[in-house]
């Protein structure tokens, strides 16, 4: 693990925000932290970038000026234009004139914001704002790029653009940590950490998580819920049998990543 969290515990008052969470973030790789609202995703990133101290555990991060961080709700100035945002961030990173114009041109090109240079940040569409925010965090070519839910509420077309931008940073060497509520985005990652209620439900490569599904999975049609460990997939049911013995009439199916995530969440609940 070059950067990241190892067995980190954070409590807020009596509430445990993170209960021994490990999030490895390595150069040229994307780590995705998946979970719902309140799972502890933002807390992980706050600890990673140094906004919050861990009670126990190991946190590794590069020097502050080598980090690019976009929080879930901001990352740009709404009352500055796209160009002014770029200039402001470049000045904050103390970039030289030449480096500044080179990098800004590249960011404008990669975010597709050339025609929007003179528009105010706050007047851009949601998807364009997120692209600009990620672009601003990339301006100084950080070693560690940390993005809190960059794609939440963003439509699939802008989401594809954002992921191209993020992936390009990774293939050029950055270590990238991204949080998301969209399970299918985890398939793009080298490393996935599933979080719920501050606890790790599963972690590893998407293939590891798929291989790690215990027991058997099946499908059946019908109106009534077949077993307590069943959930809807379209008009049919998915049935998970931790023991591997599916009820009669249930057709076995190989789990996909979505199933694996739900099984991990169900297993986590049973474990409590």
């Amino acid at each position: 693990m070059t950067w990241g969290l190892a067995d980190v515990r954070v409590s807020r008052g009596r509430k445990v925000a993170l209960a021994g969470v490990t999030v490895p973030v390595d150069p040229s790789r994307i780590t995705v932290v998946v979970g719902g609202d309140g799972a502890g995703k933002s807390t992980c990133l706050d600890v990673l970038v140094g906004l919050l101290d861990a009670d126990t555990g190991v946190v590794r991060r590069p020097a502050k000026e080598r980090i690019g961080y976009v929080p879930a709700t901001a990352g740009l100035y709404a009352d500055l234009t796209v160009q002014e945002n770029l200039d402001f961030f470049a000045a904050a990173y103390r970039m030289s004139g030449r480096e500044r114009s080179q990098q800004a041109a590249q960011i404008i090109d990669r975010t597709g914001l050339a025609a929007a240079r003179r528009r105010l940040g706050g007047q851009l569409s949601g998807g364009m704002q997120r692209k600009l925010a990620v672009g601003l965090a990339l301006l100084h070519s950080p070693e560690l790029l940390v993005l809190d839910e960059p794609t939440t509420g963003v439509d699939p077309v802008s989401r594809a653009d954002l992921w191209r931008l993020i992936s390009r940073a990774a293939v050029e060497g950055a270590a990238v940590a991204v949080t998301t509520t969209y399970v299918n985005e985890a398939a793009r990652a080298a490393c996935v950490v599933l979080l719920e209620d501050g606890k790790m439900l599963a972690s590893g490569s998407p293939e590891d998580i798929l291989r790690g599904v215990p027991g058997a999975l099946g499908t059946a049609r019908g109106i009534d819920r077949p077993t307590a460990l069943s959930w809807r997939r379209g008009a049919s049911w998915r049935i998970w049998a931790p023991t591997g013995r599916l009820p009669a009439g249930v057709r076995p199916v190989p789990p996909d990543f979505e199933d694996a995530v739900i099984v991990a969440a169900l297993a986590g609940m049973r474990g409590r």
Binding site: S125, G126, G127, S167, V171, R188
Partner: protein, 287 residues
């Protein structure tokens, strides 16, 4: 009558801007219809037209066979993206308020909510708030449910629970219209309608919409360089585990990589729904 909601060549213009253009949409009993589109495609305007919150510039909207009115509104359950709950009221108070508005005094707060029915809605986690909004919208047994991004921000188990509720409502006879940006959620729907620039550009089951769309899967050791090269050359490329998925033809993709001395295999594979969706809406509206 099986058709609950119907938009018949409906258009909505705001000044010179056409938000919805000659659009048809039908929601029948017992079915879950997914309404997909990029932001600004016209989904929310179409929903507002169906609810009767906007009057169409052209075309006809029918709810239960009549033009939208207060009487038809009583038969609709609607959860906007912003949930439509009062954050400063408790769960029980929100429940009572909606019951009052729908003159439905008999509806009791569900037992599942008893532990926190006296909590302010604004203090509950988002997933719980969404569950409450959904239950409130169902409390007057609507025949038509309209849900705008119902599970945005909700974790996997919360999402599974909400979809169980949606499916149960449909199996009991309701028609459901759901907007979503989440393709796993879209795959839960019986039928999908895809909008772009105010027009319907595709409709059918998830499998029908994915249809013949293909992407090129690239496998190579030097995938970092391959990605950078394809991206810089304007190919819509995405990381996918250890491989790359690219829009375009295998000949063009393989040709570029070979010219740059990258040893790779390029193979045509079926696109997933998200890839097909992006390909469909990224095309000019005429396509």
């Amino acid at each position: 009558m099986d058709i609950l909601a119907e938009a018949d060549r409906v258009s909505m213009r705001f000044g010179a801007f056409t938000a919805v253009c000659a659009t048809d949409l039908v929601v029948k009993r017992e079915e879950v219809v997914g309404l997909l589109g990029a932001n600004g495609a016209g989904k929310t305007t179409l929903i507002r037209l169906l609810l009767g919150l906007l009057a169409p510039s052209d075309g006809v909207v029918r709810l239960f066979g009549s033009p939208p009115s207060i009487a038809t509104r009583r038969r609709v359950g609607y959860v906007p993206q912003t949930l439509g709950l009062y954050a400063g009221l408790t769960v029980a108070e929100n429940w009572a308020f909606t019951a009052g508005a729908f003159r439905n005094s008999g509806a009791l707060v569900p037992e599942a909510f008893s532990a926190w029915q006296h909590e302010l809605v604004g203090r509950l986690p988002l997933g719980t708030q969404r569950q409450v909004a959904f239950a409130v919208a169902l409390s007057h047994q609507p025949e038509l449910l309209i849900l705008d991004e119902p599970t945005s921000g909700v974790g996997p188990l919360g999402r599974v629970r909400l979809w169980e509720g949606i499916r149960q409502a449909a199996s009991q006879g309701a028609g459901v219209l759901v907007t979503t940006h989440n393709m796993e959620e879209a795959e839960q729907c019986d039928r999908l309608v895809v909008m772009a620039d105010g027009k319907v550009v595709a409709r059918g089951s998830a499998a029908e919409i994915t249809g013949d769309h293909k992407v090129v899967e690239v496998r190579c050791d030097d995938w970092n360089r391959a990605f950078a090269l394809l991206d810089a050359s304007g190919f819509p490329v995405q990381l996918h585990g250890r491989g790359l998925r690219v829009g375009g033809t295998p000949t063009a993709v393989a040709g570029l990589l070979t010219r740059e001395g990258i040893d790779a295999t390029a193979e045509i594979v079926p696109a997933n729904l998200e890839e097909a969706f992006v390909a469909i809406v990224a095309k000019p509206a005429a396509g």
